[in-house]
């Protein structure tokens, strides 16, 4: 059912405004500009083209697991009392267990073409690290992964899988980098630190590049295969949806499933559905954050991006929101949020895992905790419980990954041991207090 797209599709030409330019973190006279990106990815990052050919080696790798399944989740609908159909698009059926393999393959291919011999990255729950390790194995690159230490201890098999795929895996803080040696205890648990370690580790080595993961504009472009397939698969079943939901860590699976619908709507091919990002209530950047310039990692050395953020200094509390535990949203997702072209809702971990449990029970698919957030948000919309997001035709939800390595979280749910923690307004205000250069949302007026 469906086919693998031969091209990625970008929403950038349809935004009607330019994404805010990055800013230098601080002005250092004479400091060189360091560039660590193949030109192909650079073009996809800043280019204005809508359609981008997928290189044949990447397409060949895609064909081994794509098109991914899309089905009407009738059992889940019944279990929650849905008033409209819910369509599930499942991205957990590849070696990495998540959608992140879609961009990891593309990135590894382009870096290999550019002469890089090793990629280094940081990972939270381990899905991105696993995806990159698998992609590096496919294209003959070495791979080093810094994984958030608390996650690695909870999910040791993620580390095993990455090592089976040939990667070197370090628990962050690792003690291998300056930034990890300087970190204080309450900041030692976040993805931004793991990313910062990867940045420093790569910068100190020849032929080694840092791969920033899944929030970059080019990553979201690569993820467009999810939405493009979904549009075709829904059409094959004569189904229409007026809400599209995905979970948001930085925003790549949400962007992947949702933004092709925005492209198709802009082209007049379908009506624009509600695009709803489901974020963790423990890292509520889209619902309680501010649109400002912030750092993407703990080193603060890279360019500052305009993003919805709760502050890169925010000490992310330990939880089962896994890959959603990131302080900021991708720049394209953030800009569209500011321009009111998409919406967001926050979900606590108990509700997310309960939605995941119901989906497992009634659809025979075990979702990752991240996907549980999307399923919970979809359930609210489909049952009419979400007063902000109403739909009448159907909801499409991205089940971005499997939860086989997250069973400890489900065990805690079954044992009644999970609690929700909502960050206080004071804590968030303190984390955002240092942010400067708030983005003037009125400058994102749609001009096209």
């Amino acid at each position: 059912m469906g086919s693998v797209p031969a091209q990625w599709r970008s929403v950038i030409p349809h935004l009607g405004y330019d994404l805010p330019a990055d800013r230098a973190p601080h002005r250092t006279t004479g400091a060189p500009v360091q560039v660590n990106l193949p030109m192909s990815l650079a073009r996809q990052q800043v280019g204005q083209r809508e359609f981008w050919d997928i290189p044949e080696p990447v397409l060949e790798a895609y064909r081994r697991y794509r098109p991914t399944p899309l089905w009407r989740a009738v059992g889940f609908e019944r279990a929650i009392g849905a008033k409209v159909p819910i369509w599930a698009k499942y991205e957990g059926g590849n070696i990495s267990g998540s959608h992140k393999y879609n961009t990891a393959l593309a990135q590894a291919y382009y870096y290999k073409q550019a002469g890089v011999r090793e990629l280094v990255t940081g990972t939270g729950a381990g899905q991105w690290g696993t995806a990159l390790a698998a992609a590096c194995a496919q294209f003959g690159l070495a791979c080093t992964v810094f994984m958030v230490g608390s996650s690695l201890r909870k999910k040791p098999y993620r580390g095993v899988l990455m090592r089976m795929l040939g990667a070197e895996v370090h628990a962050s803080p690792s003690g291998l980098t300056d930034i990890s040696r300087q970190v204080v205890a309450d900041q030692a648990n976040g993805l931004s630190l793991a990313l910062g370690e990867a940045v420093q580790y790569a910068a100190a080595r020849e032929g080694v590049a840092f791969s920033s993961g899944s929030g970059e504009t080019y990553s979201i472009l690569h993820q467009s295969v999810i939405g493009l397939e979904s549009i075709e698969q829904l059409a094959e079943q004569s189904a229409t949806v007026d809400a599209v939901v995905g979970s948001v860590g930085a925003g790549s699976n949400f962007g992947g499933i949702a933004l092709p619908f925005a492209c198709a709507a802009a082209a007049g091919d379908l009506a624009m559905p509600l695009l709803v990002g489901a974020e963790s209530a423990s890292t509520p950047k889209l619902t309680r954050g501010t649109y400002a310039y912030d750092h993407t990692d703990a080193t603060g050395s890279g360019p500052m991006e305009a993003m919805y953020t709760i502050g890169s200094s925010y000490a992310v509390p330990d939880s089962h929101s896994a890959g959603l535990r990131y302080h900021g949203a991708a720049k394209v997702i953030s800009a569209m949020r500011a321009a009111k072209q998409l919406s967001a809702t926050a979900v606590h971990q108990v509700e997310a895992l309960e939605a995941g449990r119901l989906f497992t029970l009634h659809e025979s698919v075990l979702p990752a905790p991240e996907s549980g957030h999307a399923l919970a948000a979809a359930a609210r919309i489909a049952t009419g419980q979400d007063a902000e997001h109403r739909c009448q035709e159907g909801v499409l939800v991205c089940v971005s990954g499997h939860g086989y390595l997250d069973l400890a979280a489900y065990d805690q749910l079954l044992q009644g041991q999970l609690q929700d923690e909502r960050p206080s307004d004071e804590v968030l205000a303190a984390a955002m207090a240092g942010l400067t250069g708030a983005v003037n949302i009125s400058r994102l007026q749609v001009t096209a």
Binding site: A21, V33, Q34, N36, A42, G207
Partner: protein
């Protein structure tokens, strides 16, 4: 057919023009020295802004920069960028 000097001057001006635009500085091209730092008193170029500059120069100069050009590279002054573009123009001319 441009002479080497004319070509260098043309590319020099093109690089300075996009660097000023990227830095959001309203100044004439003549205000930018050949060895002007990309991050200094006048210009302020981020790594992502630099990539935007290079895309613009691809269009302006009719060249296609190869994939392996930028991985791991550092650029300090305007002249560093001019040298890269000139080399690609020369390659295009001999290809």
């Amino acid at each position: 057919m441009s002479t080497d000097l004319e070509l260098r001057t043309s590319i020099n001006d093109a690089v300075k023009r996009v660097a000023l635009t990227e830095s959001r500085v309203s100044a004439p091209v003549s205000a930018v020295a050949d060895d002007e730092p990309l991050n200094g008193e006048l210009l302020s170029v981020t790594s992502m802004g630099f990539l935007g500059m290079m895309m613009q120069l691809e269009d302006d100069c009719g060249i296609v920069l190869p994939d392996d050009l930028f991985v791991g590279r550092r650029f300090t002054t305007v002249a560093d960028v001019v040298d890269i573009v000139l080399a690609q123009v020369a390659d295009a001319g001999t290809a």
